[in-house]
């Protein structure tokens, strides 16, 4: 059977959510939702899983912390121990209070940048990438539901969209 792409455009985020519940209830997969701001509560309806970016940030943070610890242990304690201001230089453990600030900064640096870079790569955001929103108004005030349905379901789906308040429906 032929597949068609349908754009259901809503003016209101609440109606969009109601529409999505209805469509999903009919056993139709909502392929994508484009909105001008985060619509809270849409993710579980259309089956978007919770992001794991925070876990990545934690791992990047641990990496940053380890790198800083290793760096200061190597430079100050092992490679060239220097007696400065009477602070002990022969042992990392005794000198560690002075190393806390940089260990912390390095943790934050790696966690923040690592996370941002992962986000840009996973969502494929970078200069020169072409935007994928089918209607330019979805960055302004419209909420667009992208559906891929069987041609036979078209009238049923359109009715459901209209019933929940869709202001426009486009078939592409």
């Amino acid at each position: 059977m032929n597949k068609i792409t349908l754009h259901g455009i809503y003016d209101d985020d609440q109606q969009l959510k109601e529409g999505a519940i209805k469509i999903v209830g009919m056993g139709i997969h909502v392929k994508e939702v484009f909105s001008p701001f985060p619509v809270h509560g849409i993710d579980p309806i259309i089956g978007v899983k919770r992001t794991r970016l925070a876990i990545c940030a934690f791992i990047y943070g641990l990496t940053g912390m380890s790198l800083a610890t290793w760096m200061m242990w190597y430079m100050m304690v092992t490679d060239w121990p220097t007696e400065i201001g009477g602070k002990p230089n022969f042992s990392y453990l005794l000198n560690v209070p002075a190393f806390i600030p940089i260990t912390f900064e390095s943790t934050v640096l790696c966690a923040a940048h690592g996370m941002a870079i992962t986000f840009f790569l996973r969502s494929w955001l970078m200069p020169g990438v072409k935007a994928k929103n089918p209607d330019p108004r979805t960055t302004d005030n419209k909420f667009l539901m992208l559906l891929e349905i069987n041609q036979g379901d078209q009238s049923k789906v359109e009715a459901a969209l209209r019933e929940t308040g869709a202001s426009e429906i486009h078939v592409c």
Partner: protein
């Protein structure tokens, strides 16, 4: 869904719709700059250029052209550095700490406050890179393998902590700010008609499309970056304060410095946000989004941090007396009654007395008073750093090194130049970037917009 109490005033007034928000915020970007913008921009750019001339003169001749001398070897350079970096702190506080506390009113001001942070840290960076005397050797500050017998930098030194703290702070703030800007650049991109402008905003928007998954990630990134930036902002000024506190110099060697500096930074930063916001809301007609209520909230932060700073000043005085250490006592007597008594008096008046006026509701809700006091506070906070540095250094242990400090035209030129640079960048930002995080504002419209709020039974 979140509920907001009925008695809270709406954060967005004037019966705005989603489209109105877009229109109101994008208008300055789409329109042409008016006469006032050009006048102020020219003024700022000329001052900035003069600052650059003074910087070139300093690099070409050496920091002997400054007023710093044998006794007072840190003066305006470090004063300006600490002042600028302190100003930057309010931006991070508004965007990160208030995000964690779920304070929705921050959404109208966080974008411009973060921009302020970035420009302020850039100004601060000029002074730290220049005060080393040979800025072309500043890469020595980083732990790079070298041919000096593999002699590494000293990780025990707060000056090295500063390098790491300030560079982390700058780059993380920049990423935080830019990530937040991406959806708004996409909005501009989709509304621009001119092909070149479209192309530029398309590049800036990184191809943002607003898919559900992208928004989920976007919010997660904002939340985690806020969580990371919160301790970061406190650490940065604590580390800056250790530049002084770890020196064994009466007047500097105090454990109160980190919290005292952080409170002072937030204090001066909020004052600078007020100065900028009050002009911006008027010029761009953003009164529906930045209301008197927002200004009042910030004034409350100013009273609290101003009072904290006052308590810190008095604690310092008490501890110097209570310590029984003559050197310590002399340092404070010298500050209050020595050759720079006027700077101390100015600091006390501007920072401790003047914010107390905000206890009166009439004053803290008056925009004119707020504007004047915001400038007074920033003058006071500049003098606080001056008082910590110059009067201390001009009367140290050895009376033979006692001397006065007089700024030269180069000192003044560079300082005024950074103010010019700050305003040049801020004006460009206000002209070409969305000054309010409009995608965030839209998400609270139903919660706190006047039209929705007054409807009975709204969700």
């Amino acid at each position: 869904m979140h509920q907001e109490s009925e008695i809270r005033k709406p954060l967005i007034v004037g019966n705005k719709s989603y489209k109105d928000i877009t229109d109101d915020i994008i208008r300055p970007v789409q329109g042409k700059a008016n006469k006032y913008w050009w006048i102020v921009f020219t003024l700022a750019a000329v001052t900035f250029t003069w600052g650059l001339v003074c910087l070139c003169y300093t690099i070409g001749t050496g920091i002997g052209v400054w007023g710093s001398n044998n006794g007072v070897d840190w003066a305006w350079d470090i004063t300006n550095f600490v002042w600028w970096i302190g100003i930057g702190h309010a931006g991070t506080l508004i965007s990160a700490v208030l995000l964690l506390f779920r304070q929705k009113w921050r959404m109208a001001i966080n974008r411009s406050a973060e921009a302020m942070t970035i420009f302020a840290v850039m100004c601060a960076a000029i002074f730290v890179t220049m005060h080393t005397g040979r800025p072309w050797l500043d890469y020595w500050l980083f732990p790079l393998p070298n041919q000096f017998g593999s002699l590494w930098i000293n990780f025990n030194s707060p000056l090295v902590w500063d390098v790491f703290a300030v560079s982390t702070y700058f780059s993380v703030s920049l990423v935080f700010w830019y990530t937040g800007l991406i959806p708004d650049f996409a909005t501009i991109r989709d509304r621009m008609t001119k092909p070149l402008a479209r192309k530029i905003y398309s590049l800036l928007s990184f191809g943002w499309s607003g898919r559900a998954k992208d928004w989920t990630r976007f919010e997660e990134v904002a939340l985690v970056l806020a969580g990371l930036s919160t301790p970061l902002v406190f650490s940065v000024h604590s580390i800056v304060s250790t530049d002084f506190a770890t020196a064994v110099l009466p007047g500097w060697h105090a454990t109160i410095f980190p919290p005292y500096f952080v409170a002072g930074a937030v204090f001066s930063g909020f004052a600078m946000v007020q100065t900028l916001i009050l002009i911006m809301r008027k010029v761009f007609s953003l009164e529906s989004y930045i209301q008197v209520k927002h200004v009042e909230y910030m004034n409350i932060v100013i009273i609290i941090t101003g009072t904290l700073v006052g308590v810190a000043y008095l604690t310092e005085l008490f501890m110097s007396w209570y310590s029984g250490v003559e050197w310590e006592q002399y340092a404070f007597i010298n500050r209050a009654t020595g050759p720079y008594w006027w700077a101390y008096a100015l600091m006390m008046t501007c920072n401790v007395v003047s914010p107390q006026l905000f206890w009166f509701k009439k004053i803290r809700t008056s925009l004119v008073f707020t504007f004047i006091l915001s400038i007074v506070v920033n003058i006071g906070m500049w003098f606080e750093r001056f008082v910590i540095i110059v009067p201390t250094l001009c009367r140290t242990y050895l009376p033979s090194t006692w001397n006065m400090y007089h700024p030269t035209f180069v000192d003044i030129g560079i300082f005024v130049g950074t103010i010019g640079m700050f305003f040049t960048f801020f004006l460009l930002f206000a002209r070409f970037f969305p000054v309010i995080a409009q995608s965030e504002l839209k998400s609270i419209l139903k919660l706190s917009g006047s039209e929705y709020k007054n409807k009975p039974g709204h969700e």
